[in-house]
């Protein structure tokens, strides 16, 4: 693959000078007084816009453009000046300088969370897809990267990225959710912001090669039952995967949302196991070792196992992320301005297949109503639901409850604790898919609470 030469970005100072209000790039501001043309334009614009422009001052740009944005001059009236030409951003689009949503990263430096409260539709922008790394994000040159398939195969093979892209490709939408998402909410309702509670889940369209295609190229030996998937990061993260899943719907993904994977998502290659806990979707994938037994790696024994403190027994290989739903509006950082109409909306997903229905209660579980599901409803993908609600101004409890196509109904937190026991820490809190409750207070503030109604 030949690298394209970097496109030449035209010099900012040579671009058409726009009448601006608010902040402007330093180079423009510094040269304005020496530039008679510019001064004339500014004066002209001021005269033309008149008092109206002063009365309706435009929103000012941030002092520093938000991440992913470039700061441009903001005209008083964008209909009266030519807009900027394409290319000022170097040819790779940036978001508006007025949009500020970012992933919030943890103090430990091992994860960042999707800002769910502001999400729209069903696809997470790649730049906002949650992250969980076990020793940082490696920088990998795709030309130096390959995938080794060995172990109980007839033909051990290596595949370059070019090899993998020659094979028949497949695309699908899938959510990825960390097995530890919502863990902090299991013992007690603690979170104040929805991304801190539940932000380790995101959705993308993924493109790559079916893992079954690559395994058939290598040829499986009889008795093969598992494979070890290993990453090329500093943790060399590894998980044992049953061949049943590998041959079902696993994908060796090299693209996300129409472009190459983001480095944080495993560039140049990751394993996609639709519906399975995030850590099994091994990033920076470089080796598959086919075996007749699981390898008992650290991440499938010490961690990501579900300890039941009632019995002391830990469930192992609890891969599937069960049906879950979440009301994203209203949420604790939002305030209802007063009685009246609000659209309750959120996301639902299941690692077992399609979401069949989402029910919403606006009276603490006394009555449940079917929410509208946004089409298309895709298997092992996030589904947007919406429910129109008129708030009477009285305190109440909001909940959503998902049912998937297998008939599995999202449990209450009480139901989960009856089965798993409860503990403040320990492994007991992986795979928390309990119904989330938002308490609406008089005055319209929203609070995160545990409430299992009469279920």
């Amino acid at each position: 693959m030949t690298k394209k030469s970097k496109p030449q970005v035209s010099d900012l100072s040579a671009t058409p000078v726009l009448p601006v209000s608010g902040r402007q790039p330093k180079s423009l501001a510094q040269t304005a007084d020496q530039d008679p043309t510019r001064r004339r334009l500014l004066l002209g614009a001021a005269a033309a816009a008149g008092a109206a422009a002063v009365a309706a001052a435009p929103k000012q740009a941030q002092a520093i453009a938000p991440p992913g944005a470039v700061e441009y001059p903001v005209p008083v009236d964008p209909t009266q000046v030519p807009g900027r030409p394409p290319g000022l951003n170097g040819g790779y689009g940036t978001r508006s300088q007025f949009e500020t949503e970012v992933r919030e990263w943890s103090g430990s430096g091992t994860s960042s969370r999707t800002p769910l409260a502001s999400s729209e539709g069903t696809i997470t922008p790649s730049a906002l897809h949650f992250e969980r790394h076990h020793n940082g994000i490696p920088e990998i040159d795709p030309e130096e990267h390959s995938l080794l398939v060995h172990g109980m195969v007839k033909r051990p093979l290596t595949f370059t990225m070019a090899d993998l892209k020659r094979l028949p490709s497949t695309s699908r939408v899938a959510f990825i959710e960390c097995g530890g998402n919502s863990a902090g909410e299991y013992h007690a309702a603690r979170g104040k912001e929805i991304h801190n509670m539940h932000g380790l889940v995101s959705s993308s369209e993924w493109t790559g090669v079916a893992l079954s295609t690559v395994l058939r190229e290598a040829g499986l030996e009889s008795g093969a039952a598992w494979l070890l998937a290993e990453g090329r990061d500093a943790a060399m993260l590894s998980r044992s995967i049953p061949l049943e899943k590998a041959l079902d719907d696993a994908v060796l993904a090299y693209a996300q949302n129409g472009e190459a994977l983001r480095p944080e998502q495993g560039y140049p290659l990751r394993l996609l196991l639709p519906g399975w806990e995030g850590i099994t979707n091994v990033k920076w994938l470089h080796r598959l070792d086919v075996s007749d037994a699981p390898f008992q790696t650290r991440e499938e024994t010490s961690h990501y196992t579900d300890l039941n403190i009632v019995t002391g027994e830990a469930k192992q290989f609890t891969f599937v992320m069960a049906a879950k739903s979440l009301i994203l509006f209203p949420h604790p950082e939002a305030k209802l301005e007063g009685p009246g109409f609000f659209e309750i909306t959120g996301l639902a997903w299941s690692g077992r297949g399609k979401i069949k229905r989402v029910e919403v209660t606006t009276d603490g579980g006394k009555n449940w109503h079917l929410a509208e599901l946004q089409e298309p409803v895709l298997s092992k993908s996030q589904t947007r639901f919406r429910f129109p609600w008129v708030w009477d101004g009285e305190p109440t409890m909001l909940q959503s409850r998902a049912t998937d196509e297998t008939g599995y109904v999202q449990p209450s937190i009480r139901q989960l604790k009856e089965v798993r026991g409860d503990a403040e820490r320990g492994n007991v809190n992986y795979h928390n898919n309990a119904i989330q409750t938002w308490r609406v207070n008089r005055g319209g503030t929203i609070e995160n609470v545990h409430f299992s109604g009469n279920s």
């Binding site: 430990s108 060995h150 033909r155 090899d163 190229e217 500093a234 403190i309």
Partner: protein, 195 residues
């Protein structure tokens, strides 16, 4: 397709034939034929044994994959104080940084505060070798020789009172170490089903 080409485009047919012949010949070139039967697409390069040996660092619970070598408690303790103590603490109970506790916690798995450590929770000692070699020390993973890894394991298991401090740990006995929580895991569970 060949009928179409035969009728309308004999020259193109000839060209295509030459192209297919060239691809076929390439697929059968000596490099691809030695002990190698192409799969359906014939894409991918046969992996040499040396390449596989260089990359294959995983260790299974039955000890398959353990390299030759051995180590002891004293050498492990020295290494631990140099490489591990910042994160895991002097007493292996966890440090100020990210490292978790490695020992202690026996009998806590049914308590309100279960403490999961190598001593109380890990079902297999082989996982220590696999994990330490691939991922530790956190700030410079991949630097430890096999004997050093075995020594660290002898130290940790000795401090955990899982083995005597005098035991030499190596490829021949690591998989046989009986971990206290060996029977604490269930891989044949029934999925929870809420309806």
């Amino acid at each position: 397709m060949s009928t179409f080409l035969a009728i309308h485009r004999p020259a193109l047919q000839l060209g295509l034939f030459a192209l297919v012949l060239a691809m076929w010949t390439a697929a059968l070139s000596p490099a691809n034929t030695q002990g190698f039967t192409p799969g359906k697409y014939g894409i991918g390069t046969p992996a040499e044994a040396a390449l596989i040996a260089a990359l294959d660092v995983d260790v299974r619970a039955d000890g398959v994959g353990l390299p030759a070598g051995s180590g002891n408690y004293e050498a492990g303790g020295t290494l631990f104080s140099q490489l591990c103590v910042n994160c895991h603490g002097d007493n292996l109970l966890g440090g100020r940084e990210r490292g978790g506790a490695l020992i202690g916690g026996r009998g806590t798995l049914t308590s309100e505060y279960p403490r999961r450590t190598v001593e109380s929770y890990w079902p297999y000692a082989t996982t220590l070798f696999d994990y330490i070699r691939r991922a530790m020390p956190y700030s410079s993973p991949g630097v430890l020789e096999a004997d050093q890894v075995y020594s660290l394991i002898a130290f940790i298991l000795g401090e955990a009172k899982i083995i005597e401090k005098s035991v030499i740990i190596g490829a021949d006995n690591l998989a046989a170490v009986e971990m206290p929580n060996r029977d604490g895991f269930n891989a044949d569970w029934q999925p929870e089903m809420f309806r």
